[in-house]
């Protein structure tokens, strides 16, 4: 079985964001990049599925800058058999063009299971899996936190507002992975060494025109400096007064 895992390189979640001079992107110097947190669950799930199936090929793919070689090497150290880096110099924030480019690659290299993270923590788009699935004509379940794969089908669970949904879906399918699906394990030295011998293909991405154009990227207006209104339970009446009459929140 062929399994594809989609990976995105994003700024570390504790990065302070600075806006670049163009007013449309972030200043990247001094920023630590890493593999998107949710993609860790996707990658680990690919490894677990391969273990379950006995025989499977796991290909990790990304559309990103040349520097994403580091993250792609990382996927090889953590279970991917092969990595593909489709290079672009621009920040890919537009879900439609990314999905189109990924779907073109997957159509040429069909997979039974395509795993994504729930959302990339840069543009916070949360749209790739279902966007991609519709373009491929594949089944799809998003934000999955429990998965049982059978022959030609699978059952997945996901959180919805105030409840959990149990969904059945046919394969081939795109699945987006949420926290709780598995416990990603770090690579060990042996697998890091072994990764050096695995193939990492690199070629320019063919991204169609974006469906959205960036007008501006700005820092949000700072919240008004908060105030500490007092100490201990004695401050409760003052809080109630402020919530009622100033904030009009209760």
């Amino acid at each position: 079985m062929d399994i594809v895992v989609c990976i995105k390189r994003v700024p570390a979640t504790d990065t302070a964001i600075k806006i670049a001079a163009d007013g449309k992107s972030i200043e990247t110097s001094g920023v630590t990049f890493e593999m998107n947190a949710y993609d860790e669950f996707a990658l680990e799930q690919a490894r677990l599925l391969k273990e379950q199936l006995g025989e499977a090929t796991v290909t990790a793919i990304t559309i990103g800058p040349k520097e994403a070689q580091k993250e792609m090497r990382g996927t090889l150290a953590r279970g991917a058999d092969k990595a593909v880096l489709l290079t672009t110099e621009h920040w890919v924030y537009d879900g439609a063009s990314t999905a189109e480019a990924l779907s073109t690659w997957i159509k040429a290299n069909p997979a039974q299971i395509v795993l994504c993270g729930k959302q990339a923590t840069d543009a916070d788009n949360n749209q790739m899996a279902s966007n991609l699935a519709a373009r491929l004509g594949y089944g799809c379940v998003t934000e999955v936190s429990k998965l049982e794969l059978a022959e030609g089908t699978f059952t997945a669970e996901r959180d919805i507002e105030g409840a959990r949904e149990v969904v059945t879906c046919k394969t081939p399918a795109v699945i987006s992975c949420n926290k709780g699906l598995n416990e990603p394990k770090p690579a060990n030295l042996k697998s890091i060494m072994a990764a050096k011998k695995k193939p990492l293909e690199e070629m320019p991405a063919e991204l169609p025109d974006a469906a959205m154009e960036v007008v501006s990227l700005e820092l949000p207006p700072p919240r008004a400096e908060g105030k500490i209104i007092g100490e201990g339970a004695d401050a409760v009446p003052a809080l109630i007064e402020l919530l009622r009459n100033e904030a009009k929140a209760i």
Binding site: D122, A123, A129, V166
Partner: protein, 327 residues
Amino acid sequence: MSNIIVIAEVREGSLKRPSLEAVTAAQQLAKGSGGHVVAVACGHDLDAAAGELAASGANKVVTIEGATFAHYSGDAYAKAVAEQVRTHDGAAVLMAHTAMGKDLLPRVSALLETGVITDVVDVTCDDGVFGAKKPVFAGKATLTVKATKSPFCATVRPNNFAVASGGDGAEIAKVDAPSGDLLSVVKEIIAAGGDKTPLQEAKVVVSGGRGLKEPENFKIIEELAAAFGPGVAAVGASRAVVDAGWRPHSEQVGQTGKVVSPPLYFAIGISGAIQHLAGMRTARTIVAINKDADAPIFKVADYGIVGDAFEIVPALTKAIQEVVASN
């Protein structure tokens, strides 16, 4: 005509409130585009929901009904909705940014060969060009885009637009759901015990963190939430307590949890790490209770009380009960 389509979400017969907020966003766009607002709902037995939509101010309501649509199927709903967008000459398509909205609208946009922008907090239509604003980098920046393909598709963040109301009863049209092969279908919905208010729809979120010391102590958090009365408040949690197994992941607020923007948010025994702030910094009013006066949460809180949660929270619960009783 440049009509604005709203995909309404109906679950187990009831229309979800964020769909009515999406109608408000659609009305904002219709003012700019000069078109009508058409609400489209998929499901089975949609009379009640259709009635509510018709009274919301939408100009037309289309229901796609049938046994095959009794349970959500992303692929089947998407095809049926995309067809209605074409039929009604949709220049823009909006849906609430809920579990269903995030799943469905990207598919619809792909079938319509256009883009989609998710989790938007504002939408615009100037000279026929659609645009939107959304928080990116976990709320650390705001992205403004304009659409270069048509139709313009966007999911709208809940609790951000007012609920639409005051329509005088729009025309309701019924379309039969297609019978046919579904790739995916919801088999079961397991309710989270009791009649819990969904975190993202709650008017008040009361979150607790590691400062509560033991999972059992979340009782004081639950009691404070309950004090607001039924259906008002939901309990949230920091990642530290979710990772420790004290609370389910469905309650996690933050960059790798849920993003909430309720009118009122309480952070209790939560330090205010950047990843937590990402999930709640857009709440209208933030209250922090922490024993450390230097905790970063006080930098974003509108009102802070320094001290022991175990002393302050029960007193606060009592005071809230009194306010609610007197209202």
